[in-house]
Symmetry: C2
Subunit: 337 residues, 2 copies
DNA sequence: TTGAAAGCGCTAACAG
DNA sequence: CTGTTAGCGCTTTCAA
């Protein structure tokens, strides 16, 4: 094991100045009362010696670290990498460090992560759960340790924790509605095989929009499977093989939507004239394809801000109260409808 | 501040069993000698009481945490989010936690991050530096604290630290060569405005390939600016306004390359017949566009593995020795050439 | 305003 | 194999 070398502690600073280390501690943290003169002197000397507070000792002593943990199913999809990136930025500004964990969509891994968080006495947790996290039970340990947590985007079905969600029902409803208004009558829906509520909500929105427009729901137009572009490709193939083909397709992810467009173009179906396509997420990838993909956007900056505020409120107020914030999605019209 | 509630410590476990807490410590860590019977008893009881080791105390006592820090300029580009995601996975498996930091391409932020890392006594650091980090000096504090670090993809120009780099010269060389072999004669090069060596190396590779094929280097074919799709779009516009237009374009990032393709298609220039395009990074976005973008891939799994191995070697061996690993890139041929 | 004392939870070193 | 002692660097509490 490597040993630290030049480690300067408050005692070193104190010794140099011929004062007590407690005074140094006070001065450096701007707490208690220290004569201005002494304080300045201490800060100068600390700087001079290259003193860096030992966070390990501080956190240990304070029984709590200044680390915020972010738990996501997967860091690679645009939605999560953008969320984490933005979240980190404001957390860093507020003086927190951020630890990131990936559950890889496995509830068991998620549980392990949460358990390990206890050990780190993190200040708070922001989580988006795995596709099949229904129970909140493995988050209970956090509650019993008094560690606040907030869910974003994907929350357990039954939870009393604070959460920042998107109105997925509305997003799908609006998207389908937009296609119908532009003259489409046979709208299909492509989902992932994931069971999470956000996808079920979108399905409900889809159904409701059909109903409100006097269109009948046809089961064969609802397909699911996969998460990526290639999956959109195969699902589109399936849909276009139907006797009564769709003239509009709503995909629960932009990547899937892009796969759909790729299939349609390959088979000389024109988008959006013959078939309109809408996705979810406002992934920049959507503007790479041709035509550019119309998408349901869930404002990430807004989600980041809301979840950070909720979390910080709980950390500061020391109460783990329930608060639910719903973000309204917005359709970004591009070329595919 | 919220206070922890049910915190179970080794002393609690010891008290319950009527033994000394040091024995509990030994048993739980499988060190020293403890009678098997006692050990089993301890583990059972610890589990029963829901004991979770206080990492804060452990790390403090050990003067070192089991946290690996990853510092990247920006988490959003595919290259970095994929690297971090993969890195995290193998680090977690090896029992390390990962803290991620973004320098936002600012050397000053990078310096702050490094300084704060000292406080956390992280076990090691993996970094890809900002576009204008030339000096390694702000990493010196790590060295003096005995914290090993490894650079990946982007390293300071002069460094004695271990690093995992891509042979960018070769990547550009091969890409240009491929275009020439397919009959192109006026190859342009679009770079970012970033000054980092990796981009200069690519430029050198570009020039060398021209030379080796007996083509003359024309300064007007080398343009730079921006980092994103829209930048590729405007640079392409600039290039196609030249008297003597290019018939092949190498972009230093896939996103830029996609912007180029979008411009060309918009102006009815066919790709790859009239103009071939190649990018860098193997960003999945490249398959969203039409035609799909040919790209220079730098194997991320290989880079992750190499840098993790280098870092772990240093952590384990307690020597901060210099080692440089170069990853050879590979061209992935798709439709744009 | 400053100092002295005590202890957070854990582990290394030594003793038994 | 198990217990005792001591201390990591810091901060809170109490006393001067």
């Amino acid at each position: 094991m490597i040993e630290s070398k030049n480690t300067v502690t408050i005692k070193d600073v104190a010794r140099e100045l011929g004062i007590h280390h407690v005074t140094v501690s006070r001065a450096l943290r701007n707490t208690g009362s220290v004569k201005k003169e002494t304080r300045d002197q201490i800060k100068k000397k600390a700087n001079e010696l290259g003193y860096k507070p030992n966070r390990l000792a501080q956190n240990f002593r304070n029984k709590r670290s200044n680390v915020l943990a972010v738990v996501v199913p997967d860091l690679r999809p645009y939605f999560f990498s953008k969320f984490v990136s933005d979240f980190m930025e404001i957390a860093q500004e507020a003086g927190y460090s951020v630890m990131i964990f990936q559950s890889s969509e496995k509830a068991s891994v998620e549980k392990e992560i949460i358990d390990s968080l206890i050990g780190y006495r993190v200040a708070g947790v922001i989580a988006s759960v795995t596709k099949d996290t229904v129970q909140e039970s493995h988050f209970d340990v956090l509650k019993s340790e008094g560690i606040p947590y907030v869910f974003f985007d994907r929350a357990p079905e039954k939870t009393e924790a604070s959460q920042v969600l998107v109105n997925n029902f509305q997003g799908a409803y609006d998207a389908v509605n937009a296609m119908i208004k532009s003259g489409k009558k046979e709208i299909a829906y492509i989902s992932t095989h994931y069971q999470h509520k956000i996808f079920r909500d979108r399905l409900e929105g889809y159904k409701e929009a059909l109903k409100d427009n006097g269109l009948t729901y046809r089961e064969e137009l609802v397909v699911k499977g996969g998460f990526f572009m290639k999956d959109g490709f195969v699902q589109a193939e399936r849909l276009m093989a139907l006797e009564k083909k769709p003239d509009g397709i709503l995909a629960v992810r932009d990547e899937i939507g892009i796969g759909v467009i790729k299939y349609l173009k390959k088979t000389d179906v024109s988008v959006p004239e013959d078939v309109a396509v809408i996705g979810f997420d406002n992934d920049p990838m959507g503007v790479a394809c041709e035509p550019e993909l119309t998408t349901v956007e869930q404002s990430i900056p807004l989600m980041v801000e809301s979840s950070f505020d909720l979390l910080l409120g709980q950390i500061k107020n020391a109460k783990l109260n329930f608060e639910k914030k719903v973000i309204e999605p917005k359709i970004i019209f591009r070329g595919s409808i």
